[in-house]
């Protein structure tokens, strides 16, 4: 036997509220149809359709609402014997059942929260990764970067030189001079870097950032390799061709091989041997974070191109360190006129790492907070409207003896449910979008430091969950208080006449105004943020970079039997470049002009 007409059954289900009573009614109709169908199928169908059309749906819905409210209140009262938990659990259960019946509201509320929490989580993960998470060194707060200062540049007329007077690099002999005098620093060292072609195995050559270290560089940082060892004093002194790989270099160029220690590879024009691999996350505050570390080459030791790196003695401040280092430099200047006007300045190492983007990162943090704030207001507004829609049910609850607390709980339960689902969804969204987001940010803000540290770790999770909790609680506050203030008699009397009470409407108006104001603030902040990033993008690099193209040559050493052949080839490139119609002049600086200018201008041959 076939059942009742499908369309009629579907219509019946669509019109009936979801409840046991409706199920029973549907069953009664099914049974009535089955009985009639044994006599005449046509009549049975006709009867079923008529039944579907004559049911008093509005009254049924009202009754079901009242029954639900009563069940909740009774259960909440029963639950109160063993504490509030039973009541809260029941409120949550009711919320879980009632929210899907308002799919549009539930979807808007959950989406609002998910998007806000997702966006705030993304923004905060950048703030946390770049600014807040500790640097991958021992006691990173004690680390300072030391620059040389040039009085001559500060006092000169050249604006570009004046701007860079206190961020100058220095030669290793200066570091030796500091090391010789006891003071408020525990250790001082230096490093410089160079872009060199690396050739490992049969892979193509690749230009990598080679950090050249002095003795004590790793000791000052307080780090140990994950694999192998660090260069010893003799190796540094003799500039031995040994290298420590960054974790990423090890996996990218050496396939993460466990037996990498002892392997040889080409670097520039020399052959180096791997002696160690640094742990995951270890990097240097350079453009690319360093691809590998080698002892400073003999020929670069005298270059004034080293960054000073020092560890403060316990209890010493940055000011004390600056005073000390500056005094030592100036004492040498007093004895030797060629060194007159040279001073020193120490800055917190983290500031050196994130210095340029710090303002932007702070703005990013402000934006994250604003997004959360706007989410609070949006969600609060949504729930205020929702509570106005639930007045009838709340009035029934009140008339059945529900106290102000349990009314507020009934409202709170829905908010908590939306909060949990929306918050988790937001975190999931952030997790999915993190990779592309960091990539896009890295592309927009050249040299955004510590991109690898941007991830959804514990502090970010704490922020996201905290933001969700705060949003939920703030959003629940106004409607829950409103619900608790309901006067039962007047509420029931007014329910069908006025959908929204004056107080609720006032509350909504206030929230709408706040929402509008916050949106303006958020948009202004977002524009400022964008503007600030643009400023970083277009920062004055001290030369006219328009119409300059950089050509990096990666020489495959196997193709050139000796240095002379390579030089010949370079000459060939040079003469061909001269003949290109668009090229007016060219030069071959080394390293290539990227990053901040700290050295005197390059000379073009």
């Amino acid at each position: 036997m076939s059942g009742p007409p499908l369309l009629a059954r579907w219509l019946l289900r669509a019109l009936l509220p979801r409840h046991e009573i409706s199920d029973a009614l549907e069953g009664d109709l099914f049974q009535g149809y089955a009985r009639r169908a044994t006599r005449s199928l046509r009549r049975a169908r006709w009867w079923y359709w008529r039944q579907v059309l004559v049911q008093p749906y509005p009254s049924l819905r009202r009754v079901v609402r009242e029954v639900r409210a009563r069940e909740t209140t009774v259960a909440a009262r029963r639950g109160r014997g063993g504490g509030h938990m039973g009541g809260i659990a029941m409120d949550l259960k009711v919320a879980a059942r009632s929210l899907p019946r308002r799919p549009a509201f539930a979807a808007v509320a959950v989406t609002t929260l998910a998007l806000s929490i997702g966006a705030a989580t993304l923004l905060f993960s950048v703030v946390n990764g770049v600014l807040l998470s500790p640097l991958p060194y021992e006691r990173p707060d004690e680390l300072v970067t030391v620059y040389r200062t040039l009085d001559e540049w500060r006092e000169g007329d050249n604006e570009l030189l004046r701007a860079a007077w206190d961020v100058q690099t220095l030669p290793l002999e200066q570091i030796e001079a500091w090391r010789a005098v006891p003071g408020p620093i525990k250790g001082v060292s230096g490093y410089t870097y160079q872009m060199l072609p690396l050739q490992a195995g049969s892979g193509p050559p690749e230009t990598v950032e080679v950090i050249m270290v002095d003795r004590e560089t790793f000791a000052v940082l307080g780090v140990q390799p994950a694999l192998g060892r660090l260069p010893d004093l003799d190796e540094v002194r003799t500039s031995a061709p040994v290298a420590v790989l960054r974790h990423e270099t090890w996996t990218r160029r050496f396939g993460g091989a466990a037996d990498v220690v002892g392997r040889s590879f080409g670097l520039g024009e020399a052959t180096y041997t791997v002696i160690g691999v640094m742990p995951v996350g270890f990097f240097f505050p350079t453009e690319d974070g360093g691809d590998l570390w080698v002892p400073a080459r003999e020929d670069v030791r005298d270059w004034p191109s080293f960054y000073g790196l020092a560890r403060l003695a316990p209890g010493a401040t940055i000011e004390e360190a600056t005073t000390f280092l500056d005094a030592v430099s100036r004492r040498a200047g007093a004895a030797d006129p060629t060194r007159a006007g040279l001073g020193a300045r120490a800055v917190r190492h983290l500031d050196n790492v994130v210095g340029r983007v710090k303002g932007g990162i702070h703005l990013l943090f402000g934006s994250a907070l604003l997004v959360v704030l706007v989410a609070c207001v949006n969600l609060g507004n949504l729930f205020l409207a929702r509570t106005a829609g639930r007045r009838e049910e709340l009035a029934v609850r009140t008339s059945l003896g529900a106290g102000t607390g349990s009314l507020a709980m009934a409202v709170l339960a829905e908010v908590v449910l939306v909060g949990s689902v929306g918050g988790l969804l937001g975190i999931a969204l952030a997790a999915g979008a993190l990779g592309p987001f960091v990539e896009a940010l890295g592309a927009a803000v050249r040299g955004l430091p510590r991109q690898g540290a941007v991830r959804l770790d514990t502090p970010v999770m704490i922020f996201s969950l905290g933001a969700t909790l705060a949003t939920t609680l703030v959003a629940a506050l106004v409607p829950a208080l409103g619900a608790a203030r309901h006067a039962p008699a007047s509420a029931l009397a007014n329910v069908r006449r006025s959908g929204t009470e004056n107080a609720t409407r006032r509350g909504q108006q206030v929230l709408l105004s706040v929402q509008g104001a916050l949106t303006v603030v958020l948009m202004a902040a977002a524009m400022l943020l964008g503007r600030s990033f643009l400023e970083i993008l277009h920062v004055d690099v001290g030369m006219d970079v328009h119409r300059i193209a950089v050509l990096e040559l990666h020489a495959d050493r196997d193709r050139f039997e000796n240095r002379a052949a390579l030089t010949r080839d370079k000459e060939a490139v040079r003469s061909r470049l001269h003949r290109l119609p668009g090229v007016s002049s060219w030069c071959r600086p080394s390293p290539s002009p990227r990053g901040r200018i700290t050295s005197p201008p390059w000379a073009c041959p």
């Binding site: 009573i21 029973a24 009664d28 099914f30 008093p56």
Partner: protein
């Protein structure tokens, strides 16, 4: 205990529940109401009234087992409570009192 007043439909409904006996679900109640009470009512309105009566403690209901002949839906079985019986008897006494002396004068033609 305060006696509860019953409307005409409520009285008929309580009586129909009593008549339907052990299988007093809305469908059976509707049949009794139709055949003996000369009252046609939709199942929906029966559920509305029965639910109101239940709120007032005059009937109670339990959920039966879902069966295939009902399309997998459970029955809701109703039973008149003691308060329901008291209210029914009271309504009947009121009606009886009202009829006393009137019956002869208005004997059915």
């Amino acid at each position: 205990m305060e006696r509860q007043r019953l409307t005409d439909l409520e009285q008929l409904l309580l009586l129909a529940v009593l008549q339907a006996g052990d299988d007093a679900h809305a469908g059976a109640v509707q049949t009794v109401l139709d055949e003996r009470g000369e009252r046609k009512a939709s199942l929906g309105s029966l559920y509305v009234t029965l639910t109101r009566l239940e709120e007032r403690g005059l009937v109670r209901s339990i959920k039966g087992e879902p069966t295939a002949e009902r399309g997998g839906k459970a029955k809701r079985l109703y039973e008149v409570t003691r308060e329901g019986l008291v209210a029914l008897h009271h309504s009947r006494r009121v009606l009886d009192r009202m009829w006393e002396g009137v019956a002869d004068a208005t004997a059915e033609a």
